[in-house]
Amino acid sequence: MGIEQIYNEILTEHTTSNRNKHHIENPTHVCKGVNPSCGDEIELEIREKDGNIEDAAFTGVGCAISQASASIMIDLIKGKPVEEAMKLAKTFFGMIKHEITDEEQLEVLEDAIVLKDIGHMPARVKCAVLGWHTLEDVVGKEK
């Protein structure tokens, strides 16, 4: 899958609709992720309750890939236990690094699978993982 597919409907839908790009009420966690070489900046807000991610959204500026990846991630993790979100992050990194290639294993990533081939554009990998790394920073550190 080449870049044309990566910049496909899902990406453009996520970047132009801005569905998950806003502030949330009473966030319990806020964390900024930056990509100094690009100028990509994401601020992730999460409201956690009893180990579940009740609400999540992001603000910030960046390229389509970092923005879409963050937006897709939020669709995925909202309503899920923190633990499961962490597992998804691991799977996502595994997919990007081409360490996990088994389609069934990747199924949990749903829309995020579209970013599978970003590994062929090494310069853009940092953009694709920015949101997920910020997620790890925001909730993963506590354990």
């Binding site: 870049i3 044309e4 910049y7 453009t12 100028g39 500026v61 389509a64």
Partner: protein, 408 residues
């Protein structure tokens, strides 16, 4: 067909299944066969540690190295090859000046003046040394079209100014700075001028004596030469006054356990085994540029740039930064953005069509802040580029917004 392309093997390669369109010449240029072969030949026939040996091969290596130095001296109109110091790149040259002349000349309250459009390499060394010395680093700002005005020069270069560090050509906007005025004013107030020629010398004749520049710096790799070789020119009296920077082999006269005396110019500033292969490659690059001729280079590039600017203006939703009229002190470096599209996406989409442009802050974050943009795309040409390549570029540019889901 451009007659020079055959001399550059890489220009016939493919990238992502398409013919390579290399428009990142401000970052580094490609190398003609003659440069690659000069390096080859050096290693196959003349390689030895220069200066140190009395045997034939070492003499040959010394000669090769000193001939390269003389070639550079003649190329920039230096009075003597002693004024040419080889470094690793323009950044190395600028660090050398800041750490030697800068440290020596600056006192509390003194001023270093740079243009806001300087490359980080002409900013950070001055931040470091001004901080260390309690001196002030201040900036020449640009007008709306990216130029430094005469008023700005008059106002900013003052009696406190000891050093003016400025690029002859901006690597972001392609603007040609009014260095004659800057040098004149700087000399009036008794300041020395450090001219960053990294982006100018690949395209324009630089004559240090006509300019009366005190120091100039440039990189081999941006002018057809290999990586790992850069140049510092300094007026002989200034270089003589300066303490050495890096110390070690080759740059000494006498060394005792606790003291050392230093070699005369130029060796004083070249510690350790020099990059003879790199210098030989740079010499071949200069020869190639001279063969093509600066007049010819300018003619080709102005035509390309004018064509590109005209075509880009016809594409909707494109913002070009700085001067857009080729007749007004600008050259073949074009910074732009596609509306609503992050420059990284633009670069990736163009890359899919085989087009190499840069996107980012171009090592000029202060300029980005000043222009209030996060990043830009940059296309930069050299004489081996063609109008056909610009057509491919323009066609690809037109697709960018559609790929990202915008209607037009």
């Amino acid at each position: 067909m451009n007659p020079y392309r055959n001399d550059f093997p890489i220009l016939s390669t493919k990238t992502n299944g398409n013919d390579l369109v290399y428009f990142d010449n401000a970052a580094t240029t490609q190398k003609p066969v003659s440069v690659i072969e000069a390096i080859n030949k050096y290693y196959q026939e003349q390689n030895a540690n220069p200066y140190r040996g009395l045997y034939g091969l070492s003499v040959e290596s010394t000669n090769a190295y000193e001939e390269a130095r003389q070639t550079v001296a003649d190329f920039i109109g230096a009075k003597s090859s002693k004024e040419i110091i080889f470094t690793g790149n323009a950044t190395g040259s600028l660090n050398l000046i800041a750490n030697t002349y800068g440290r020596m000349a600056l006192k509390e309250g003194d001023q270093v003046v740079a243009a806001i459009s300087e490359h980080h390499s002409n900013i950070l060394p001055w931040q470091q040394v001004t901080k260390e010395k309690g001196a002030v680093l201040s900036y020449l700002y640009l007008n709306a079209s990216g130029h430094i005005t005469e008023e700005e020069i008059e106002q900013k270069i003052t009696g406190n100014t000891k050093i003016v560090a400025v690029a002859q050509v901006s690597n972001v906007l392609g603007t040609i700075n009014p260095v004659e005025s800057i040098i004149k004013k700087a000399h009036e107030v008794g300041a020395v001028v450090v001219l960053d020629c990294a982006q100018s010398i690949p395209h324009y004749q630089v004559n240090v004596q006509e300019l009366d520049a005190d120091f100039i710096v440039f990189s081999g790799h941006k002018m057809l030469g290999p990586m790992g070789i850069g140049v510092l020119y300094g007026k002989e009296n200034l270089l003589n006054e300066m303490p050495p920077f890096l110390t070690g082999g080759e740059m000494i006269e006498y060394v005792s356990e606790q003291e050392a005396t230093f070699a005369p110019l130029p060796n004083k500033f070249e510690a350790g085994t020099p990059n003879v292969g790199g210098a030989v490659g740079l010499k071949a690059a200069i020869n190639y540029i001279q063969k093509v001729g600066y007049d010819n280079i300018k003619k080709i590039e102005d035509e390309l740039t004018d064509y590109a600017l005209t075509k880009m203006k016809e594409v909707p939703h494109i913002t070009i930064y700085g001067e857009t009229d080729i007749t007004k002190e600008r050259c073949g470096v074009i910074s732009f953005n596609v509306d609503d599209v992050h420059p990284h996406d633009t670069a990736s989409i163009l890359d899919a069509d085989g087009i190499a442009i840069r996107a980012g802050h171009h090592c000029a974050q202060p300029l980005m802040h000043y222009m209030k943009v996060a990043a830009t795309c940059r296309a930069s040409f050299y004489f081996y580029n063609t109008k056909e390549e610009i057509d491919i570029f323009i066609n690809s540019l037109k697709k960018v917004r559609r790929w990202l889901g915008y209607g037009d």
